[in-house]
Symmetry: C2
Subunit: 124 residues, 2 copies
DNA sequence: GCAATATACCTTGTATCACAAGGTATATTG
DNA sequence: CAATATACCTTGTGATACAAGGTATATTGC
């Protein structure tokens, strides 16, 4: 199924991909601020809440979660529900909250600079 | 001079760096929309107009310019000024203008999705 | 019971790209 | 004619989003 024969050349994939870089940790920490969640749940929420614009595959998410765990920004808990497969729940730690604040600032600085730059067509 | 002995640990460098990814081509094409410019000029303008937030070194910029040239989005012209070193001027092509429009859309979609996601603290 | 399917987690390999560091060439200046 | 400034270019490194493929457990249909 990999590629339709007449599909348009998608250099497109590249840009989206690169734009997402560095924002995923912020995104995940932000989603966890609302309460603990497990991997598949985060993937689904993210795709749903951004109409797929910021969607990721699970193969992308798990390394992010691992990095966050390693850094102490999230804690982990296994739970086996009465019906279904065991799930690994992630929860924000105190230091994760700090990091979330920091990353939001960083994002705002970056997005703000971009907005300002792109706004003025003619320089004074 | 590489690193001060008491400098704070800069994981910080990482995030900024990743966030910039994928946005540089848009930035450069946007700057060239105002008229042709040469490499060092772009570096200086970018640093000045974003207070360093989106600043890059020339070692970062030249590969970007080369990619843009390769893709046909900019054209190149050497000029030796009466006083000073020869300069390589870059100018937007017609296809570069199209690409600029496309990248702006892509950026707006991305930044818009981020803004919307980060805005609502509590989900309905 | 047992194949088929769904859910959920994890690993490996690849490509891209921002950056640091270092290099080249030309022009100006003391 | 050395020292400095301007401008361009190259190489190597690290970070990371993603595709592809894999594992394990639970449920469902026959």
């Amino acid at each position: 199924m990999s590629r339709e024969p007449n599909a348009p050349p998608d250099d497109r994939a590249g840009i989206d991909r690169e734009l997402k870089r560095g924002s995923l940790e912020l995104i995940v920490l932000h989603l966890l601020e609302a309460g603990e969640a497990y991997g598949y749940e985060i993937v689904a929420k993210l795709t749903a809440r951004t109409n797929g614009v910021l969607g990721v595959t699970d193969g992308t998410l798990y390394p992010v979660l691992y990095r966050l765990e390693r850094a102490g920004f999230v804690s982990v808990r296994w739970e086996t529900p009465e019906r279904g497969v065991p799930r690994k729940y992630y929860r924000l730690t105190a230091s994760g909250r700090d990091e979330l604040v920091r990353l939001r600032h960083e994002w705002n600085a970056f997005a703000g600079a971009m907005a300002k730059l792109l706004a003025n067509k003619e320089e004074k």
